[in-house]
Each structure stands twice: as C-alpha cells, then as structure tokens.
Amino acid sequence: MARKVVVLTAIALLSMVAVAFAEANPQVAAAGLNVYFGAVLAAGLAIGIAALGTGIGQGIGLRGAVEGVARNPEASGKITVTMLIGLAMIESLAIYALVVALILLYAYPMATPIAKMIGLPM
C-alpha cells in the first residue's frame, strides 16, 4: 500500500512538475507528460471498446436464449442457466480489459524510471 501511494504521488507530481520543468528541460518534461496522457487515454479506450464488444456479444447470446424459451417455454429453466453461464464467459473478456486499464492507471509500470529520468527523488 505504501508503494502504491508513492507511485501515485509520483504520477501526480509528474503532471504538475512537468509544467514547471518545461523551462528547464522541455523535451524530457513533454515526454513524461505525453506518456501520462497516453496511459490515461489508453485506459479509457480499453474499457470502452471492451464494453462495446461485450454488449454486442451478450446481446446475440441473449437473443438465442430468448428465442429458445419462446419456442419451448418448458425448457426455460435449463435455457436460463445455460444463458447465464454463457454471459459470464463473455463478460470475463471485458473484465480482462478492465484489469489492463486499472494496471495502466494505478500500477503504471514506468512511473519510477520516468521519475528518475526527470530527477525526482525516488
């Protein structure tokens, strides 16, 4: 937990200090800020596109299940169980994308080297 707090502080400081260092060393500061922006943008896009694919996939699966129940209402119990299992499988793909987005936001892998590069005490 302490390490997470330190890394988060490094990222927050980076975003503030990068502007201050712009006069001192504009190239390095701009590179650090670019990487930060890229990580946040990537996290947002990751979960958005994953939700898109999951929505379409689960909708198609749900359509099959509802058609099956409409055709044969007696089998509704088994069809519902199978549909729920299928939906959980498809949902797990969106969860993988969520884990990647959270890694980008909270466990940003290059925070320490970039902070060292800019010159923060790490």
Binding site: M1, L84, I85, A88, M89, S92, I95, Y96, L102
Partner: protein, 229 residues
C-alpha cells in the same frame, strides 16, 4: 483514494498484530471467513436429526443442490471431488458478498487469493489426469490426428496455462471491479444512498462468479478424467 478502514484490522491492531493486518487484509479476512464457516457448520450439525429443521434444513438444501448439479455435470465417478468443489463455491460466495458490507474486505478482491484457488484447480486437474490415465495422459495434449501432434502440443499447453489465468482474472476482476465501483459511488454520492442499486447487482454477480468458478473447475476435472478425442 484514501485507505479504507476495516473492522478486523482495527481489532487486530488492539491485539498487537497491526502491521501484519495492515499489509495483508486478504489473509486476515480469509481467517474470518474460515471461522464463520466452521461456526455455521458446527451450528447446523449440532443436533442432527433425520427430518431436518431450521439451520440443518438450509444447509442440506445447499449441499444437496450443489452435489446434484455436480453429479449431473461430472458423472458418478466425479462424486469424489464434491468436498473441494463445494468448498470453493461456498468460500468464494461468502468472500464475494463480504466485500459489500461496509468495513469489511473481500479476500477474493486480491489477486493472491484467486490465484491460489485457480492453482489448486489446475494442479488437481493434472494429478487426476495422471492418476486416471497414467503416462497415456499425454494423449490429451496431442489432438486427434497423430502427425499434427508437434503443432497441437504447444497450443494445448498454452491453453491449459491460460485456464489458470482466466480463472484468476475473471474472479479477481469481477470482485475488485465491483468493490471499486461501490467505493467510488460512495465517495461521489454516498449521502443519497447511491451505492444501493449497485449492491443489488453485486449480490447477483457475486453468486454468478462463485457458480462459474466451481462450474469451470468441474468441467476441467471431468475433462481430465474422460478419454482423449
């Protein structure tokens, strides 16, 4: 996001285990769940009768349901694995739901717990396969056509390793994601009871994730027991 406050961590601080409890909340809350389940089991079987009543009735319904479902999926020779699968189901369901109570933490919201459960399933699958088939177990990895075997072997090995990854990440991502959403809603609009609709969804997805984990373990173990293609 600030560091959340957990009841059990505060209690253990009083007892002197503060540093351990702060660093490893998933371990201490797993102990709590173990204690709760042992107490429930003891209460249910304290005065066991032939015609069940009360707590014994509830637990008989749960255990019976899980066992019937398992025999339906795995067949009769899979009955031996019932204690492990039922333990996974009950433990994961309880630990998922525990995270919804304010002041408590889900052990399964930490990747160490879910990785441990997935590794147990993975190792059991292969031990069962070797025990049932002996050295012929390698045929499961070689595919139906013999001259495609050098291609199928790495693909099958990667597929088996990805089972561990998928079991871990599915459970971890679902539970940590839902705890995170509840925490954020609490910070944003807690006084308007904003987390409440999410909590209803969270109870449902907690049950579904526990069910999916135990169902997939059943399928993997029965896949190791059956004959190759």
């Amino acid at each position: 996001m600030e560091h959340p406050i957990f009841f059990l961590t505060k209690l253990l601080e009083v007892l002197g285990l503060g540093h351990f409890a702060h660093a490893y909340p998933h371990v201490t809350f797993t102990w709590l769940i173990m204690l709760l389940l042992i107490i429930f089991g003891w209460i249910a079987t304290k005065a066991i009768q032939l015609v069940p009543f009360g707590g014994q009735n509830l637990f008989e319904a749960v255990i019976d349901g899980v066992e019937n479902f398992q025999v339906e999926v795995m067949g009769e020779h899979g009955r031996v694995f019932f204690p492990m699968i039922a333990t996974f189901f009950i433990f994961i369901f309880f630990s998922n739901v525990m995270g919804l109570i304010p002041g408590f933490f889900s052990p399964t919201a930490n990747i160490n717990t879910t990785l441990a459960c997935a590794l147990i399933v993975f190792i059991t699958t292969h031990i069962v396969g070797v025990k049932f088939h002996g050295p012929k177990y390698i045929k499961h990895f070689l595919g139906p056509i013999w001259w495609l075997a050098p291609l199928m072997l790495p693909i099958e090995i990667i597929g088996h390793l990805s089972r561990v990854l998928s079991l871990t990440l599915r459970l971890f991502g679902n539970i940590m994601g839902e705890d995170l959403v509840l925490g954020i809603l609490l910070l944003l609009a807690g006084q308007f009871l904003a987390p409440l609709p999410m909590m209803f969804l969270a109870v449902f997805t907690s049950f579904v994730q526990a069910f999916i984990f135990s169902l997939l373990s059943m399928l993997y173990i029965s896949g190791a027991m059956e004959h190759a293609h």
